[in-house]
Subunit: 196 residues, 2 copies
């Protein structure tokens, strides 16, 4: 049973799964087609080998720069600043936004010992300094940490004389971008307000 218990233990560490659901998954796999298990195993390996951070925006990607940064149809003078790569996916799901992104890879969170220098903020400032940017949309989560980060960025961006906006508070407070429904997220985009 070594192989099974080891795999159950590994699966139970994934978010949303516990020992019971991990057990159910592993016993399900034993009845699955071998090609499916092989694909899953290979997919995990690929995750290590293929996925890197885009050198421009910081999004997870197979190729550098990522498909969004290298897409000629995207507006390069509007940058949407998000906390995590998964937020990009949520925003792309709305189909409302045609600019590019910048991933901070976290938020300012003193309680977790994360300061501005731990985030991709220097890369953002460098990016804004190098090319002509029309607008920066601060799309951090509407949480204490997200708001703090947005305020910090607002202060830093003052010297660049660029329009800075924040997503409209159509989003429920304390919520998470990733789990917002498309319509709410789309409304938040179209209702964004200038804050400088």
């Amino acid at each position: 049973m070594e192989t099974l218990t080891r795999l159950v233990r590994l699966f139970s560490k994934l978010p949303g799964l516990g020992p019971k659901s991990a057990n159910r998954i592993v016993y399900h796999l034993l009845k699955c087609d071998k090609t499916y298990i092989e694909a899953l195993s290979k997919g995990l390996e690929d995750l290590i080998v293929n996925i890197k951070e885009c050198s421009v925006c910081g999004n997870y990607t197979d190729c550098d720069p990522c498909s969004l940064c290298s897409d000629p149809s995207r507006q390069k003078d509007i940058i949407c600043v998000v906390e995590e790569p998964k937020d990009i996916q949520a925003i792309e799901g709305t189909g409302e936004y045609t600019g590019v992104y910048h991933v901070l890879m976290g938020v300012i969170s003193p309680i977790n010992g994360i300061g501005p220098s731990d985030l991709r903020i220097p890369q953002l400032l460098n990016r804004i300094g190098k090319s002509k940017i029309q607008e920066i949309i601060l799309a951090t989560n509407p949480t204490v940490e997200g708001d703090t980060t947005a305020l910090y960025l607002l202060d830093k961006l003052k010297s660049f004389h660029v329009r800075v906006s924040r997503l409209a508070l159509g989003l429920p407070m304390g919520g998470d971008l990733e789990y917002a429904d498309r319509l709410t997220l789309a409304r938040a985009f179209s209702g964004r307000q200038e804050i400088n």
Copy 2:
């Protein structure tokens, strides 16, 4: 994004997971230690390579015969017949049972086209014929299919002159009379036991 979307799609096929939870898992993995992802990938490969059915009881195992069948402390003359290998795990969890097992790998289910010949029933009869068995416990699920399978086995086992039993049906421990379904309550009545 090819690698990510492919992996999300694979994960979303697992029981209890949908596109959103699969997405969450994959983005979680991207923040995980590489060794953990490698272990998960390797564990899945091991599942294909290492796991086989025990030639005696049919349980999933790394070595043949399995640890239960080769354990000298287990009573070899009591066989508990279960539908699936995961049922063995549930029964072992009770710590009540010291005999050995036999996995049918399914139940008789005409609606799914599964007849007695598709199950490990010949192996069971062969096993009972070869060695001296004291008791057979039919621990199939208390469902229509499970009951049908138990009745079929009861008929087949008549010629062996062996004691055959079925798991007791009644109220679950910690349950509430008020919320028990009619069938369970009816079974609890008909199966009531004298306590003086």
